[in-house]
Amino acid sequence: MSTLINLIISGLATGSIYALVAIGFTLLWQTSQTINFAQGEFVMLPAFFMLAAMNAGFPFWAAILIGMALSMLILGVAFKRMLVDPMLKHGVLPLAIATMALSLAMKESVKQFYSAEAQPFPSLIPSIDLHVLGAVVSTQSLGVLAVGIGAVVALQFLLTRTSVGHQMQATAQNPTTARILGIPVERMIMYSFLINAGLVAIASVLVTPLYLAKFTSGETLGLAAFIAAIVGGFNQVRGAIVGGLLLGVVDNLAATYISTQYRAAVPLMLLIAVILFRPQGLLGSAEERTV
């Protein structure tokens, strides 16, 4: 029983990271039809920005801020202006393929210009085991879960309670009508790219201490976020949250109770089950784009 609680809590912690990455993924899809196959590498890269800043002599907290800023600039503004805007003119598929190429380019660049070796990364939250009701829960899991939930709550507040959030939702649901009302549609789309860049940077800070910083470390994460987004309903922020948390828990339970050989197949089985029995996703509705 106590192991189960422990597994669920650490699963939710990983799941909250998946959720952050999946939310960003669905936001880009909703506001500008971008299927970002480089989303995993978007999580991998900010950690290297932060490592580079620390190597340059900045303390950890300042390195995090620098990594965030660079992430916004490069994975937000430059990504939109230099890749999405020019490629979207040619269609959704060419853009998706361009993001695949980007993911390769990002991996190769990190390997070439930083290192091919896994780099240790400091943890924001000290790892202490707490004994609660007979279960051992690590503060690291709780901290990750708290930061993840905090980020999601803040984003939901922005989207549902503020005028800018309503304008972003309006842009996603009906861009033509949004323009007719004088909503600055282009700016709203840019905001969603900036939010995505912020979310992947937060995810990077949370996940890298667990798995080390390596040029390949985005691969599993990108796949997990993709699965979480589809399981949750692809076109819904709420869906991405549920999908991410569910995947984290299922993944963690599978790692313990199912042989390691089959573990990797479990998320894919979850994906196939959803596609077969509920193709619109757990919270999704058919053919609608919403935030």
């Binding site: 005028s163 309503h166 649901q173 009906n174 009508t177 949004a178 007719i180 009302l181 609608e288 919403t290």
Partner: protein, 255 residues
């Protein structure tokens, strides 16, 4: 038509890509009036509205609003100038609440508008159905209610010119009557209304002026009554065509 014009189009040419739909469209919309545009399907009626509202570029020609040149201004600038556009079909944000949908009608006013909550309350008072469903998702409204929402939203900033494209489509006769009543009420307050309608008879019956558009040109521009009784209009709606009198005479015929 001695009245002062709210809106004037002069030789407007516009279209989609290589295709030209408006071939020098020219007409006037008098202030404090309801002017209805009729014409066969594909005549370019909706295209005129999109061009006035800055969604399509006018290649040549000028569009003036209250004497000021507004050709090719952005929708945002046109809203700020006092124009509102209610397009054909459903133009709502289905997953947002009715209230949030309405609030988005005030975005163009920025933060300058301090009496926004009061304006929204007044709008909801005027439309009890929308008040009752204010906190529901807009997708739960009926077709007529959605159209009302669009109109309320468009009126939030007190426009001086309303462009409304086929408001009666898909509405029950009662809803059509109500919608026309709202437009008449606005006209009586001094707002100029330019409306496109398929249902020519009932629309002209409540209008002050009528415009017949064909192949992107004004064929007839007169009082609504005169347009209603014009034998050429009957011919046009029976599938005929109003040819310009002399060949090469591209000037719109204005009675």
């Amino acid at each position: 038509m001695a009245t002062e014009a709210a809106l004037e189009l002069d030789g407007v040419v516009a279209g989609y890509g290589q295709m030209t739909i408006l071939n020098g469209t020219t007409f006037k919309v008098p202030a404090s009036s309801i002017t209805t545009v009729i014409g066969p399907n594909g005549a370019g009626k909706s295209t005129v509205f999109k061009t006035i509202f800055g969604l399509l570029k006018a290649r040549t020609g000028t569009i003036r609003f209250q004497g000021r040149d507004i050709t090719n201004l952005s929708p945002r600038a046109l809203i700020e100038a006092g124009i509102c556009y209610v397009p054909q079909g459903r133009n709502i944000f289905p997953q947002l609440s009715v209230r949030h949908n309405i609030e988005l009608g005030a975005v163009a006013a920025g933060r300058g508008l301090t009496d926004m909550p009061a304006r929204i309350e007044a709008a909801l008072d005027r439309f009890p159905v929308l008040r009752k469903k204010a906190d529901r998702q807009a997708s739960t409204l009926s077709g007529g209610e959605q159209k009302q929402l669009e109109i309320v939203r468009g009126l939030l900033l007190d426009p001086k010119l309303v462009l409304i494209d086929e408001p009666s489509i898909g509405l029950s006769p009662l809803m059509v009557q109500e919608t026309f009543a709202i437009l008449t009420e606005l006209r009586n307050k001094g707002v100029a209304i330019l409306m496109i309608e398929q249902n020519a008879k009932s629309a002209l019956a409540m209008s002050d002026f009528g415009i017949v558009l064909e192949l992107g040109q004004t064929r007839i521009m007169d009082t609504a009554e005169a347009v209603l009784n014009d034998p050429r209009v009957a011919a046009l709606f029976l599938g005929g065509s109003i040819e310009p009198k002399a060949s090469g005479d591209n000037a719109p015929q204005v009675n």
